[in-house]
Structure formats: C-alpha cells, structure tokens
Symmetry: C2
Subunit: 173 residues, 2 copies
C-alpha cells in the first residue's frame, strides 16, 4: 500500500505544492557556498534569493515560476540569472533537471530529499509523485550490471488514471 501521492499537475504546467517538509535553508546554503568557493565563483545576493525561493519549492517547478517566486518574495532577478543559477545548483547537486515534455525543463530539489518519479495520466494531465525505493534499487542494480556509477534517475510512467478512464477519448503521450 503506497502512501497517497500528491497531485503535482492537474493540467500541464500547473504545479500544485505538495506537503513535503521544506529543506531548511541554512545547511543547503552552506553546501552551495562551499561549492561556489571551490569553483572560484561568488555568492551573490541574487544567488541567495534564488536558492531561498528554490528551497521553498516542494515539488517540480520551472524557471519562470522561480522568477515569479523571487518577485513575490520582494526581490527580483533576471531570467538569465535564474537560468545561470539553476545550472550551478545542478552542478552543486542541489537540484536536478527533469524532462517531462518538449516545451521546457522542470527542476526538482534533491539535496536532502528523496528523488521522485512520476506517474502521468495522458488523459487528464494529472501528475502523481511516486517515491519508490524499489525503483531506486533497480536503477542501482542496472548500473552495477554495466559497471556504471549511479548518480540519479528519472522515471516517467504514462498511464490513464481512474478519472481519465471515464473520459471519452485518450490523450496522446
């Protein structure tokens, strides 16, 4: 019996916050500063704001949503800076990029959190987060078989939800 997953999207591009505990800012910030220092990069106010906004995210988000969030917190950063910082945050191992469609990238915090996989209804567009230890183990097993050193994985399952089964026509992948 799985713990009931939270709904991420009822429609594509509309993220609904989940209930996962937010990662505290301090430790991750320290991690980021350490990373930046090691790369001879600088810790700027913009990067701090972005990290703050990122850590408030409880589920998938995209670059534009992030810029909006920063604005909502009373600051502002350019899109360019947001993208550049997102890239650094990936390098620092704080978040990962998720490819769900061919329109844009999504991001997900991984520092101190478990990675999620996604169960996507092609009919309603609903997206469920699933947190499966089994998937993780299987990925590690596959890596081991090929002599690879596992880093992360991404699993999307396309299916039809109970609600979608009731609806007339099936959507496309």
């Amino acid at each position: 019996m799985p713990d009931s997953p939270r709904i991420l999207r009822d429609l594509p591009r509309v993220a609904i916050p989940s209930k996962q505990d937010a990662m505290p800012y301090e430790p991750v910030c320290a991690l980021f500063r350490r990373y930046l220092h090691g790369q001879k990069l600088k810790f700027t106010p913009e990067r701090a704001m972005i990290l703050d906004a990122v850590l408030r995210k409880e589920s998938l988000f995209d670059a534009e949503g992030l810029v909006d969030d920063v604005k909502q917190l009373g600051h502002r950063v350019s899109r360019a800076t947001a993208y550049r910082t997102l890239s650094h945050l990936q390098d620092a191992g704080i978040l990962k990029q998720v490819f769900l469609d061919n329109k844009q990238s999504y991001y997900e915090v991984i520092a101190g959190r478990q990675a999620y996989d996604y169960l996507i209804c092609v009919s309603t567009g609903q997206v469920l987060e699933i947190n499966s230890e089994k998937v993780r183990r299987l990925c590690e097993e596959i890596c081991k078989e090929h002599g690879f050193d596992p880093l992360s994985h991404q699993l999307q399952i396309y299916a039809v939800s109970p609600e979608g089964q009731a609806k007339p026509a099936g959507g496309k992948l």
Copy 2:
C-alpha cells in the same frame, strides 16, 4: 548477466544504429493506414516515405535526422510535414516521443518492439539502451497500486561509465 547493450550516443545528438531487427514495413503500414482511415485522414506519399524511413530506424532518432534519411532515400519532405507525421505516428501508437534533454525531442519506434530505457553517462555522453523486463513489471505494479492503466514508461538513469570514471571532471546531469 545483461546482454551487452548497444551504444546509442557517444556524444549528445549523435545516434548510432543498433542491431535490432527492423520492423517490417507492411504490417505497420497497414496499421497506420487503418489509423488514418479511422481518423478521416489521408495516406499520402509523404507519410509513406516518412513511415518507411522511421521503420528503418533502429534506435532513438530526432526529427531532423528523419528528414535527412528521407532525403537519402531519394525523396524529400518538409520539416513541417515530418513533425506533423511524427505526431500522427504517435497517435497511432507506432512510435513514442522521448525526452532526454531540453533541446529537442527524440522518437523511438514502439510498434512490435520492446520499449527501451536508457543508461546515460554524464561524463562521456554515451547512452546505452537497456531492455529491462524488471522495469516494465515494476511500472505495471506501480500503476496497479494507484488504479492507473499503464501505457508506457520512460526511464533514464544518469551515471558515470567506466570510461568516464577515468576522465578528469564529471559532467553535469
């Protein structure tokens, strides 16, 4: 012990054909014609050429590569037509779209073939196809837990290959 997987990409965007048996044209073509007919769409020479080129593909491919292939076969189609036909081929269940990066879409024939998952080396860019029955079963299990009706899935594992472990710096996801 896994059967040794074929290398799909040594560098991003460069697909190397695998050894999988090509799907015969006739049966899939019949499938496509049936689909088109049912949708009151037409079976045109362009669509036939594209389907032909698609079925010669033995691994991941992208829209531009497809247009090139058609040209190499002595014909030509516009990019617009290629995209439109790829969309219909997806709807017909003949191929599926794969999202591996934020640059473009990849496609993969699924009609009469088994879906593959990917083991991606973030250091060298190498991509291995993996064909895991275990992954498929796990996805079905997850769907069942949530009352979803499984359609397809996509798994990407990001890791460092043995060769990549030798190289200096690790790439980013």
